[in-house]
């Protein structure tokens, strides 16, 4: 089911790219790269691993491993519209329905034989406890070795050294499983690609901050977390550069992502992964653009190709969902200011103790920073619990309120 899906997807996008006349292709390039990753995962011809979200993907790329975090499959199944049977399978196995649907979907999928067998697995303690347990369960299911990475809570030099050390041990672990030592040249090349992608992403975001923003709301959906998978690869760097070039051109020509941009929003944590009309409604009815996304943020420095491990560690520690809520709140406040947003949307993904679990604290931190925030109670991957009418009304009310604020303040 999955391999033909990705093959068709690749073919379809390649055809559309070949005949494109709009010049707006960056998003398609990202989708193409994602489909190619999917194909590699399911081809049965490559070494693959299932991992936690903050694994060093460039290090793995340098070692010839196709890496993927498990939530990717949950999101993919949701966007394909075929997640129901997986969730039902998990339910039948006695997996409590209060838990995260990403995790339940993956657990259901693996038992239906829909997940390719990995060569080994990597659990990371960030971003969530549930995710770690799920990867442990996959390792048990496939009877494959598991490497566990403890991502420390505090961000200090002791934490960096400890995490870097674990990444070095991961290198040995991978070598044990592939029989191939890490080639220092390949690692340097991978790190160069990472730094290229990083620079292009940062520039893309710089353009996205312009008023009006060249970003359409859908342009940057999942961009940061999907790009993480491509770090270290040439393809990943090229996708980021396509974004940079497209945004630069649009900004230069003063083409707004949402024509007549009235409001700018920041999206926290998780996008809704299945087809839904909410974002389009915001764009068309209210000229409201989602210009920033929390998980797209890059808060790490370029990585030293000669000694990349501390850089890998700092990158993992900089992720907004690692560490305290105060750290997360600071990241979000910075984004709100940089992107000059009028408000933020916090989709409290049902079952997420990170996103949902800190709802009250995040709400307070954002209010304190003068950023009105709308909490949406939504399951980002299970369309069966999607109360469209209710969500639509809440979003509309929120946007109308923001427009009122703006009018009262003398804009736009």
């Amino acid at each position: 089911m999955m391999l033909p899906y990705f093959e068709n997807l690749i073919q379809g996008i390649e055809e559309r790219l070949a005949t494109d006349k709009s010049g707006i292709v960056a998003r398609k390039r990202l989708t193409l790269e994602t489909a190619r990753l999917g194909k590699r995962l399911y081809s049965g011809e490559e070494r693959i691993t299932w991992s936690g979200l903050v694994a060093p993907y460039d290090l793995l790329a340098a070692m010839g491993i196709v890496p993927c975090f498990v939530e990717f499959i949950g999101g993919m199944l949701a966007s394909m519209g075929s997640i129901d049977p997986m969730l039902e399978q998990a339910d039948q196995m006695g997996y409590a329905t209060d838990c995260c649907t990403y995790h339940r979907a993956v657990t259901g999928a693996v038992h239906q034989g829909l997940l390719p067998e990995p060569d080994f697995l990597i659990a990371t303690s960030a971003v969530c406890s549930g995710g770690m347990a799920v990867i442990e369960g996959l390792a048990r299911h496939f009877d494959k070795d598991l490497f566990v990475i403890h991502v420390p809570h505090e961000k200090n030099e002791r934490a960096v050294a400890y995490l870097a050390d674990q990444f070095r041990a991961l290198t040995d672990f991978v070598t044990e499983h592939t029989g191939e030592a890490l080639d220092p040249d390949r690692l340097r090349m991978a790190v160069d690609n990472t730094n290229r992608a990083r620079a292009a992403m940062i520039e893309t975001y710089r353009w996205a901050r312009q008023v009006p923003s060249p970003a359409r709301s859908r342009d940057l959906i999942n961009f940061g977390i999907v790009m993480a998978l491509f770090l270290g690869t040439e393809g990943g760097a090229e996708v980021a550069e396509a974004y940079r070039d497209e945004f630069a051109r649009k900004a230069g020509e003063n083409i707004a992502g949402v024509p007549g941009e009235q409001l700018r929003l920041l999206w926290l944590q998780n996008r809704i992964q299945f087809k839904n009309p909410l974002v389009e409604m915001l764009e068309q009815e209210y000229q409201t653009a989602v210009v920033a996304e929390e998980l797209n943020d890059i808060a790490w420095d370029p990585i030293d190709p000669e000694d990349p491990y501390p850089g890998f560690a700092r990158r993992a520690l900089s992720f907004s969902l690692v560490g305290s809520t105060a750290h997360r709140a600071q990241s979000i406040q910075r984004l709100a200011k940089d992107y000059q947003v009028d408000g933020a949307i916090n989709p409290c993904h049902w079952g997420c103790r990170q996103g949902t679990g800190a709802r009250g604290l995040m709400g307070e931190a954002l209010r304190g920073a003068g950023v009105p925030t709308l909490n949406l109670e939504v399951d980002c991957v299970d369309p069966r619990n999607f109360a469209e009418g209710q969500l639509r009304t809440r979003l509309q009310a929120f946007v109308e309120m923001l427009l009122d604020h703006k009018a009262a303040a003398g804009g736009p």
Partner: protein, 263 residues
């Protein structure tokens, strides 16, 4: 001597009387209402009057159901799980998987084919898919509860209800009506939603149903639409005993007899 089983459920109070041989002599069902102590006394009076058996001839009473501890003069309380297992064995010998959907909970049981419970799963924290749920939906659709089970016979659409929460499902049904969906199609959608949910419960105790004898009891088993649809989603035959809502009380009566005869 005769033996009495009383099942105090959320919607109905059921009583069953069996004789020394374990044969059912009579049964009675009344609504539980707001005061279950009164209903318990009433159903006990009713079955004795109906069968013409004096109280002195009742050797023992076993109480079951959520109000089991409120039954005066009982020999013991036994849970409805154990009672259903025992009761279905008498009503439909050889049953291996029993699903019971009552007024406010549903349960699935794996049995050894001789009435002993091997595993069970319950959904008792929410009314989704239970008798109360169907009652609410019938009210929303402005039809009689008894009609509900037959209305969908000729419906063939694939309309589905996304939510099984009574509150959400009610508003979903209201909007379906507003959109002009035909009532039989909505009813079919309701039954499918219940069947899918019930399948999940059943698969928790019996991941593989092939070759197993499956039966259904409880008030909702009187709804042929639910039974038919459940059979379709499980791809198996589902047997329904003659008086499906008295299986718990029957089991209780049989346990009363077993325990007395053993002594």
């Amino acid at each position: 001597m005769f033996y009495l089983g009383v099942d105090v459920g959320s919607l109905s109070c059921d009583a069953v009387l069996v004789d020394e041989q374990g044969q059912m002599v009579d049964w009675a069902v009344i609504p539980t209402g707001a005061r279950n102590v009164e209903s318990i006394a009433k159903v006990q009076r009713q079955i004795l009057a109906k069968s013409g058996i004096p109280l002195q001839q009742v050797g023992a009473t076993i109480a079951t159901g959520y109000g089991r501890d409120r039954v005066e003069g009982r020999l013991a309380s036994v849970t409805e799980i154990t009672c259903h297992g025992r009761g279905i064995q008498a009503a439909l010998a050889g049953t291996e998987v029993l699903v019971d959907i009552g007024g406010q909970d549903s349960k699935a049981m794996l049995l050894d084919g001789k009435g002993r419970v091997l595993d069970f799963a319950m959904n008792d924290k929410c009314a989704a898919g239970t008798g109360r749920f169907l009652e609410a939906m019938a009210r929303t659709l402005e039809i009689e509860l008894a009609q509900l089970g037959h209305l969908d016979k000729d419906a063939h659409g694939d309309l589905t209800l996304s939510s099984m929460c009574t509150v959400f499902a009610e508003s979903e049904v209201v909007s379906l009506i507003a959109e002009g969906a035909a009532v039989p199609e909505i009813v079919r959608g309701l039954h499918r939603a219940i069947a899918n949910r019930t399948r999940t419960l059943i698969k928790r105790v019996a991941p593989n149903l092939s070759g197993l004898a499956v039966a259904m009891s409880g008030g909702v088993a009187r709804n042929p639409g639910v039974v038919r649809t459940l059979g379709q989603v499980l791809d198996c035959e589902i047997s329904v005993p003659k008086e499906p809502d008295t299986i718990g009380a029957l089991g209780a009566a049989l346990i009363a007899r077993d325990r007395s005869v053993k002594r």
